[in-house]
């Protein structure tokens, strides 16, 4: 049977066909839909959102200790969070197959960097599979579990945005039975203290040699010989672009680029006249080709930065200048916080207090944009509170106004330890937890603060204020951010404490449609409007300024923040 599936849907299907028992993830673009599809379509697999990626990998490892097949799914930067378990995991004994899916984001469509996670496979000394289509995305998942168990190794499947979010036709396959769990003890292989880990290190090196032999023979790596004048080594979506650009060239298509199939590469190189390596981001394969002493071209012409496409590859290899036809200058349409978003008024209240606002990862990062201009830093998940603390220690209490914002999901991900540090080391900074009751940016996933699991079960619902107090924060206020004047006053008070302070800004994300807001658009009394633009300063997409007056469109969610701010009291409910 054939179906059109995205790469992410195909990987979920692949997990199902592979008889996976357990899948865990933290949401992150472009990986999110893999676990969502599993939870929706393949209920045979236990799925769970974990607070962060380190937990996701460790719980999956626990499941695999029982002999069950298990996998953890994350975006590229999530692997940084999971890097601690990842780099020791290869030392340990594999019972049930264990697979890590890393979804990279060349071009930074929705990320803070464009790191190339293929390096992690080499760093951890594990097998790396890289699908080029939805069909391969499904098939390679099954291969990954087979390799994991046969060779006793964790396997990393690396996808990118253009594989995860592109759709293609997939021929569905048979479903393998799930493995029966059994509890065993393997202390010499699972207790990684020095004496055991020292014995296990040579196991990794021997295994790598075996995996290299596999890379030479697996059908995932194949030569597609045609015109011998041009030979292209490629993987992932770059292979498809190169095929589009050079349909008659010869290809060495690597679905398993690590360990590197040296002999196959040597043979391919000997059979073609001009050799190119076409890959997105870093010269990962190119450096391995060059290490074999084989001359090739690649990153001297093909960009390291950004994603590729057929035109870039064609221009690079033919030696033409990269032609990007001229695009007219048009008003941009960047993403913005939704009409009625509770973050908007809270960020406005912070900005009006003229403090430094350390940011974090989430929808609120969009508050960086004008006119709010209310985010001063954003490094990685959980970093904002620590930036504010570090600043506070350099300046000393009372000298600078320092605040940080973090979403609820991000706070549970990696904000708790930072807040603990702020309390322990007595930083003078205000943390605003933007508690919108969901993981909004990735499409509203549940988390430990929502009281519901991905499988729809009711579960424990964290008492956020209690948690904050238990970390040692004494000054805590929970507020309704839509009452923007009050919010501004509370921020002022918090900044004046000159010690650790937390404001919980609590209102549900408008996308959840909880009924918290009326949903009825407000109107501007054109007679009363003085054209002062105070409301326009909120940057709400529902507010438009034309003919020297403010106007409110039908997308207004009725949050009333602009009405509260309007000096002329010109904004009110529909008559």
């Amino acid at each position: 049977m054939k179906k059109i599936l995205s790469g992410n849907e195909a990987m979920a299907r692949g997990a199902y066909e592979a008889g996976v028992s357990f899948a865990s993830a933290y949401p992150g673009t472009p990986s999110t839909e893999i676990l969502e599809t599993i939870a929706k379509e393949y209920k045979e697999i236990h799925s769970e959102w974990t607070p962060n990626e380190k937990v996701a990998l460790e719980v999956a490892v626990g499941a695999s200790y029982a002999g069950a097949r298990a996998m953890a799914i994350m975006k590229h930067v999530g692997v940084n969070v999971a890097a601690d378990p990842l780099l020791t995991l290869p030392y340990t004994l594999v019972r049930g197959g264990i697979v890590l899916i890393s979804a990279d984001d060349p071009e930074l469509f929705s990320s803070q960097n464009e790191q190339d996670n293929r390096h992690y496979a080499r760093f951890a000394k594990i097998a790396l599979l890289e699908p080029s289509s939805s069909q391969e995305a499904k098939d390679f998942l099954k291969d990954a579990f087979r390799i994991s168990e046969e060779y006793g190794t964790p396997v990393m499947v690396r996808t990118t945005t253009r594989i995860s979010h592109s759709m293609g036709i997939v021929e569905l396959g048979d479903v393998e039975a799930k493995k029966e769990p059994s509890l065993e003890r393997h202390p010499a292989e699972w207790v990684m203290l020095p004496a055991n880990a020292r014995r296990r290190h040579p196991v990794i090196e021997d295994r790598l040699a075996d995996l290299k032999k596999l890379a030479e023979t697996t059908p995932m790596n194949r030569m597609e010989m045609a015109d011998a004048g041009l030979g292209i080594i490629s993987s992932g979506v770059a292979y498809q672009y190169a095929r589009e650009a050079f349909p008659n060239a010869s290809f060495l298509k690597l679905g398993m680029p690590y360990p590197f199939p040296d002999e196959m590469v040597r043979e391919f190189a000997s059979r073609v006249k001009e050799l190119w390596v076409v890959e997105e981001l870093d010269p990962f394969m190119e450096e391995m080709v060059k290490a074999l002493g084989i001359p090739c071209r690649g990153k001297d012409r093909i960009p390291v930065c950004g994603e590729l496409n057929p035109d870039i590859i064609k221009a690079a290899i033919t030696g033409q200048a990269a032609v990007k036809p001229v695009q007219p200058t048009l008003p941009g349409r960047p993403p913005s916080m939704c009409p009625g978003c509770p973050h908007r008024s809270m960020l406005y209240a912070l900005r009006r207090n003229k403090c430094f606002i350390a940011g974090d990862i989430g929808c609120y990062t969009l508050g960086f944009l004008p006119p709010l201009d209310a985010i001063d830093s954003c490094l990685c998940m959980g970093a904002g509170i620590n930036h504010a603390h570090g600043l506070s220690k350099v300046f000393g209490p009372g000298n600078e106004k320092l605040a940080a914002v973090i979403g609820d999901s991000t706070f549970y991900h990696s904000g708790i330890t930072g807040l603990l540090n702020l309390a322990y080391n007595k930083g003078a900074a205000v943390l605003v937890i933007l508690d919108n009751r969901t993981t909004a940016m990735t499409g509203a996933q549940n988390h430990p603060g929502t009281g519901v699991t991905i499988e729809g079960d009711r579960t424990t619902n964290i008492d956020l204020e209690g948690l904050v107090r238990s970390l040692g924060i004494q000054w805590v206020r929970t507020i309704n951010p839509y009452q923007v004047k009050d919010a501004r006053a509370v921020v002022k008070e918090a900044l004046e404490t000159q010690g650790p302070a937390v404001i919980i800004s609590k209102a549900p994300c408008v996308l959840l449609r909880t009924g918290f807001l009326s949903g009825k658009p407000l109107v501007v009394d054109q007679e009363k409007c003085t054209g002062c633009k105070v409301c326009i300063g909120l940057g709400c997409p529902a507010l438009e300024f034309r003919d020297e007056k403010a106007h409110i469109s039908a997308v207004c969610a009725g949050c009333n923040v602009c009405a509260e701010l309007c000096p002329a009291q010109a904004i009110g409910g529909a008559v």
Binding site: I4, R162, I169, D311, P325, G332, P335, P371, E544
Partner: protein, 189 residues
């Protein structure tokens, strides 16, 4: 055949491209489609590449190789000129959604027709949004526009209707099939 669908988050562009892809698979073509998710719901620009042929390699349309550009919003039609050549047919839904700088009164909503005319003479405006509103189903504008698009593609109407019926929830099925049929009769201007 390369179809580029463009619009603004929330207009149903991605669902429309899902439906088109499914139809082309059922019709017997290899199909690939690519788009960017994630921030689409936040009111940003959305584009979806749909490619179908005997065999499709790249999920992205090469520059200048777009056969039909179907834009759900006027300004968004002009944003993807690198994909347009003199052979491209551009179909634009008559609907304007002001971007942030226009909302803030910093610049006017641009006149896009001259930009498009520099590339191709095959430019059509259609009143998809007005028709969807007239039918009492403003959110169904995506299926109305698919109806209009269907008149330029090979598959018979029956396959379109069957596929739409399979893919849309029962609650909105009838209204959308009606929208599809009316869309197929939309006049090109």
């Amino acid at each position: 055949m390369n179809v580029l669908m463009t619009g603004v988050g929330g207009q149903g562009t991605i669902l429309a491209s899902d439906v088109l892809s499914e139809i082309m698979m059922r019709y017997g073509y290899d199909v690939k489609k690519s788009e960017i998710h994630g921030m689409a719901q936040r009111g940003g620009s959305v584009m979806s590449h749909v490619r179908f042929a005997e065999h499709v390699a790249s999920p992205l349309i090469p520059y200048g190789a777009c056969d039909i550009l179907l834009s759900f919003e006027e300004l968004e039609a002009a944003r993807y000129m690198p994909y347009v050549s003199g052979n491209t047919r551009i179909i634009i839904n008559r609907f304007r959604l002001s971007p942030p700088t226009v909302i803030a009164g910093k610049e006017p909503y641009p006149d896009i027709i001259p930009i498009l005319k520099e590339r191709t003479s095959h430019i059509h405006m259609v009143d998809g949004s007005a028709l969807a509103a007239e039918l009492g189903n403003p959110r169904g504008v995506n299926i109305v526009l698919l109806g209009m698009l269907s008149t330029f593609l090979e598959p018979p109407e029956s396959l379109w209707i069957e596929t739409i019926s399979d893919m849309l929830p029962a609650k909105i099925r009838e209204a959308n099939i009606k929208g599809f049929k009316r869309g197929a009769q939309l006049k090109l201007q």
